[in-house]
């Protein structure tokens, strides 16, 4: 029931916004957060924007694994190798997304 769907705001008119959910699906929803503008990524629940999505926290995955590396690594070298594997994986993922995400680069 509390399912939230990620979407990208195409435009805002007063308290209504048109959101692109991908796959050709767009829907008019109520703006439930302050200062939403076109281009924002948002979380939509039951026809209302409940939150904005920020990208700063993808580093979360890395930081938790970094913490783990400190604990798990028997010596620094081993921990560094582990972290390097994770870093490379995240970089690959991000770059792949850059390539795949060209269609949403609208104003």
């Amino acid at each position: 029931m509390c399912l939230g769907v990620y979407g990208r705001v195409l435009g805002v008119t007063g308290e209504l916004a048109v959101v692109d959910f991908g796959g050709g699906l767009t829907k008019e929803v109520l703006v439930g957060v302050e200062d939403v503008k076109g281009g924002d990524y948002v979380v939509v629940h039951a026809g209302v924007i409940v939150s904005r999505l920020s990208e700063k926290d993808f580093a979360q995955v890395f930081s938790i694994l970094e913490e783990a590396a400190r604990r798990i690594g028997e010596n620094n070298q081993e921990a560094m190798k582990y972290l390097e594997r994770v870093r490379v994986r995240l970089k690959e993922k991000t770059e792949a997304t850059h390539l795949a995400g060209g269609d949403v680069d609208r104003p």
Partner: protein, 387 residues
């Protein structure tokens, strides 16, 4: 990392990555080995939200956890806990000729008492009454404005959903012929109830989307009053795994606290606009939860000045008081125990026999986020262990 073009794709790509998941599982195992030596042989983590139960089961998270780490469902499915009385009232109104709008989740929700042979809104529609399924309250408001017949909306939901009602009202989008059966409920009092009454849980994965509205701060009572580690988590498989790892780390360090894992949408203070709207239209009242009973200050009701939007007031329906409330599960149904994490769906004798997603007998088999429905469709695993 920064400035990916499509955050949706990036989220799915990173937070569903098998290699990264493998690393986090290793970390969980490592923490568990240390926790086991220090503390206890069993760690029971409640994933409060139905969507967390879905993520845990759908992605097979239980199957990769160490044997002593148990995930149990919590009362975080608003359809499952909507009292039978509300469904009966909606069915009765449909039979009397009122157009009833509902979310798809609550369309098949079975009531304890059948009204004219109809036990759910789905039954009422089969009998030819005007029941309409909508995606959002906005859709219902727009539809009701076109036909102008007396209409009600079965307004279930937690803090995530209720701003939809307040926002539509505040923007004058609700036509005069549409009123609401207000069944909104608040999650922190239910979490408190679960922790107080149902025995010890070692940690709580707190609901992510509820917290986008309330702010993560509302869960501080878990570590501060009850010494229970709490992590506000997202709904991708890595989110759940990271939350489990963070809870184990807190147990290991012996310092229960509240952490935000879902920081890409959740803040400490929450959504100020939505909170102000809820405050404007609703007051907090003691309210019944299906299969549980009354929980203090856990419901939302229209403030007196907006009572013309309250369907119960408009149609003269009186809600049962705490004294009048009766256990509202059908005989043999153990949904009350399932949503409090003290039984698993497959403990129920009717699970996948008399009670299936096609013909639900208990409320947890209805919504796609009810624990029984999730286990029925995707299978569960493990047992509920005593801490």
């Amino acid at each position: 990392m920064a400035h990916a073009k499509d955050l949706r794709t990036l989220t799915k790509s990173v937070f569903r990555d098998g290699v990264l998941a493998g690393e986090i599982v290793k970390m969980i195992n490592d923490y568990w080995e240390q926790v086991k030596l220090k503390e206890t042989s069993v760690v029971k983590i409640m994933n409060f939200c139905g969507t967390h139960e879905y993520a845990s089961t759908h992605y097979g998270i239980r199957s990769v956890l160490p044997p002593g780490v148990e995930l149990v469902a919590g009362p975080g499915c608003p359809v499952c806990i909507t009292p039978s009385f509300y469904v009966e009232a909606a069915v009765k109104l449909a039979i009397e000729g009122v157009t009833v709008y509902t979310y798809g989740d609550s369309y098949k929700l079975p009531a304890v008492k059948a009204v004219d042979g109809c036990r759910s809104l789905s039954d009422a529609r089969m009998m030819g009454h005007d029941v309409r399924v909508v995606y959002s309250f906005l859709d219902a408001a727009r539809d009701a404005a076109t036909h102008k017949k007396p209409s009600v909306f079965l307004a279930v939901g937690f803090e995530t959903t209720c701003p939809a009602y307040a926002s539509a009202i505040s923007n004058n989008l609700v036509p005069p012929n549409l009123t609401l059966i207000m069944a909104g409920r608040l999650t922190p009092p239910a979490a408190k109830y679960s922790v107080e009454r149902v025995g010890k849980v070692s940690g709580v994965i707190a609901p992510g989307h509820v917290s986008t509205i309330t702010g993560a701060g509302v869960w501080r009572f878990l570590p501060e009053e009850y010494g229970v580690p709490a992590v506000v988590a997202g709904f991708e498989p890595l989110d759940v795994l990271i939350a489990i790892a963070l809870i184990l780390r807190q147990i290991l360090e012996g310092e229960p606290r509240l952490e935000i894992e879902y920081s890409r949408t959740v803040t400490w203070e929450g959504n100020r606009k939505a909170k102000a709207l809820l405050e404007r239209y609703f007051e907090v009242v003691d309210a019944a939860w299906r299969g549980i009973g009354f929980i203090e200050r856990s419901g939302l009701a229209f403030r007196e000045e907006y009572s013309d939007l309250d369907a119960f007031r408009v149609y003269g329906i009186r809600e049962p008081s705490r004294e009048e409330w009766r256990h509202d599960l059908l005989p043999g149904c153990i949904c009350g125990q399932v949503i409090l994490g003290s039984a698993k769906p497959s403990d129920c004798k009717m699970f996948m026999k008399a009670c299936t997603p096609g013909t639900p007998y208990g409320p947890c088999m209805v919504s796609t986020e009810g624990a029984c429905s999730i286990w029925a469709r995707m299978g569960g695993s493990g047992v509920v262990l005593e801490v």
